[in-house]
Amino acid sequence: MIHVDYQKLRGLVQDVFERAGCNRDEAERIGRYLVESNLAGHDSHGVIRVPRYVNWLKEGKVVANQTPEVAMDTDVITVVDGKSGFGQSVGPFAVQMGIDKAKKNGASIVAIRNSGHLGRIGDWAEMAAAAGQISIHFVNTTGLGMLVAPFGGAERRMSTNPIAIGVPREGTWPLILDFATSIVAEGKCLVALSGGKPLPKGALIDGDGTLTEDPLVIYGKFDSSQPLDNRSGSGAIRAMGEHKGSGLSIMCEFLGGALTRGGAAQKDENKLLNGMLSIFMSIEAFDAGHFFGDEVKRYVDFVKTAKPAAGVDEVLLPGEPEMISRAKRKAEGVPLTENAWESILETARAVGVPESDLKGLEV
């Protein structure tokens, strides 16, 4: 495992995307959001994505410096077409519109379609929480990320379809729920394949219906000289919580795909486009009696004081593992497998980052 200083890592990623064609602001955002995922401990959505993002940019599957189009704009509804721009640009643009409208009208809905990869959805919940708002996000892809079998099925029909929810708290970090509705996100299969944390037992299903945890059923083969293709395997990731997660995932397709008009998952898509339906709520609009903050505090204390299960030190809140990881990784550096780090350096060299800038990044 290699540890890289998080600020230097941000700088490197920014440099890579500037050289690949993004303007400075966009490259800075990509660097910041990807490294933020690593800091939060969501390595699957972190800098491991750099080589793929650069490839997509070269192939025209994501467009640098794109201006999103506001397709609908009422007091409470915003529909944003990302026009294949980077999710790190489309996301903040649309989320800010949602926050502004909720501030004025109590609540607002934002439907994003045709966005490049929106990354770690917890980012958007955190952005709203920083503005003092509760937010809820349902996400799908139009098909490239289609990896999940419906309950009872053995073939891919949905994407990993994350849900995120953020709840701000007074004077402390926000509660952030952020998970894929599959047992694991695809990135976790990538991490497992490159020698990182193994997958939980039975997280995947082979094309013949057998439960497994071998990431090769997703990628088909592992040849370090070839780019990985998650369409090569015959298997699928299973939905979390059996029929319940499968139901939530299908709802993400309708809310993030059909309602936004980005499209639900379908076969033969060759670029990763996300749809996201978000709701933003201003707490003050609901809470004239100033009850909310105290009640959340009281309830959080009640949950935290549950007797821990055997082998567990402490009951953690949604978002707490990420807080702990952030502090640790800021201090100790971002851990990356050698494979992951090597492929990032390869990508950096390929876009012309000088060799001298690739030295001294490790802690």
């Binding site: 409470v76 509804i77 609540a107 809905i109 709840v167 919580g241 809310l255 309830y299 007797k307 009951v315």
Partner: protein
């Protein structure tokens, strides 16, 4: 034993009318409870009648109350259920939200202090009947604390259901309706009444050990239900508490709440009008395409079938409408006992269920 749903509904209506509900309220309660049995969610059906009557007697739920609006604008409403029957104030809260969503395209309602609001899928169906999408998060303020947090070993959360409804042009709506714990408490009660085990990895006993014995759940110290999918279901459940409990101005689960002895629900509802989002028939076409495509995933088991959320319920309903409601003897006898307690004579009961 199977009973005609009309007979069961008549009996339940009479029970509530005798216990103090006006005619309209008694009809609404009976309709919702029997509907839960019809769709196969027996845990939320007429098995609840004895508890409802008990709560009513103790003043934990109040007959003939109505929802009142605490605050509203074009898109949001905070609604107080005034501890009335959830079937009644739930319907009234949904009507408020539906009217706003039809006007603004979006509505968010936060209902607090509702009596037990029953099967949440009912509210999703009320939205899909109006061609609206809905998503619901529900909590209780205290009586329903049953679920251990992820990594914890005693009860800190309620079963906290979530539901969502998607209208489908010219077809059955898609309705997701789930509790964020592995099984609803009602299902443990059904297992206890039937004398069968609960599924694996669903509950822990009072010492935090996994068990399949429904008796262990009600022993001293009491057991707890596990959240679905580990930390993910736990996080969803916490969010239910925050949205339906704290944001509504009700309460999150806590044994010290003033209303913790009777089931008081909060429900946070998001309503969307797809017609306001997507022009023409794009939404309906996309839905149809995706549903066909998902259903075409080869089943794991030979001869199996991929179902849409809501399919099992609509099939069960068709079957039970035709063949009657199966109720176990214990549940049926409890229902008859309750009818006697509220003052229905044997002859009246016989006539109702004839």
């Amino acid at each position: 034993m199977a009973y005609k749903h009309e007979s069961v509904e008549r009996l339940v209506k009479a029970i509530f009318a005798h216990a103090g509900s006006d005619d309209r309220e008694a009809s609404i309660i009976a309709r919702h409870l029997v509907e839960a049995n019809l769709v196969g969610h027996d845990s939320h059906g007429v098995i609840r009648v004895p508890s409802y009557i008990d709560w009513m007697g103790k003043g934990q739920v109040v007959a003939n109350q109505h929802a009142s609006v605490v605050f509203e604008n074009d898109a949001i409403a905070v609604i107080d259920g005034n501890f009335g029957f959830g079937q009644v104030v739930g319907e009234e809260a949904m009507e408020i939200g539906i009217a706003k969503a039809k006007k603004s395209g979006v509505a968010v309602t936060a209902l607090r202090n509702a009596g037990h609001i029953g099967r949440i899928g009912d509210w999703a169906l009320m939205a899909t009947d109006q061609k609206l999408i809905s998503v619901h998060w529900v909590n209780t303020s205290g009586a329903g604390i049953l679920v251990a947090p992820f990594g914890g070993s005693d009860r800190r959360l309620s079963a906290n259901p979530m539901a969502a409804g998607i209208p489908v042009d010219g077809g059955e709506p898609i309705v997701m309706d789930l509790s964020t714990c592995v099984i609803a408490e009602g299902k443990i009660k059904v297992a206890l009444n039937k004398g069968v085990e609960v599924p694996e990895n669903a509950i822990i006993d009072g010492h935090g050990n996994p068990t399949r014995d429904p008796n262990a759940f009600y022993a001293d110290p009491v057991g707890a239900i596990l959240p679905i999918a580990g930390h993910k279901g736990y996080a969803l459940s916490v969010v239910c508490e925050v949205l339906a409990g704290a944001l509504s101005g009700g309460h999150c689960s806590h044994p010290d709440n003033p209303n913790a002895k009777g089931v008081t629900n909060g429900m946070f509802t998001l309503l969307l009008d797809p017609a306001k989002f997507v022009g023409g028939s794009a939404y309906a076409e996309e839905m149809e395409r995706f549903v066909k495509w998902v259903k075409a995933s080869p089943p794991i088991t030979p001869g199996g079938e991929i179902l849409m959320p809501g399919d099992p319920e609509s099939r069960t309903k068709a079957d039970r409408l035709a063949n009657g409601l199966p109720l176990d003897d214990k549940t049926w006898n409890q229902l008859l006992d309750t009818a006697g307690q509220v003052g229905l004579s044997q002859a009246e009961i016989m006539e109702l269920v004839a």
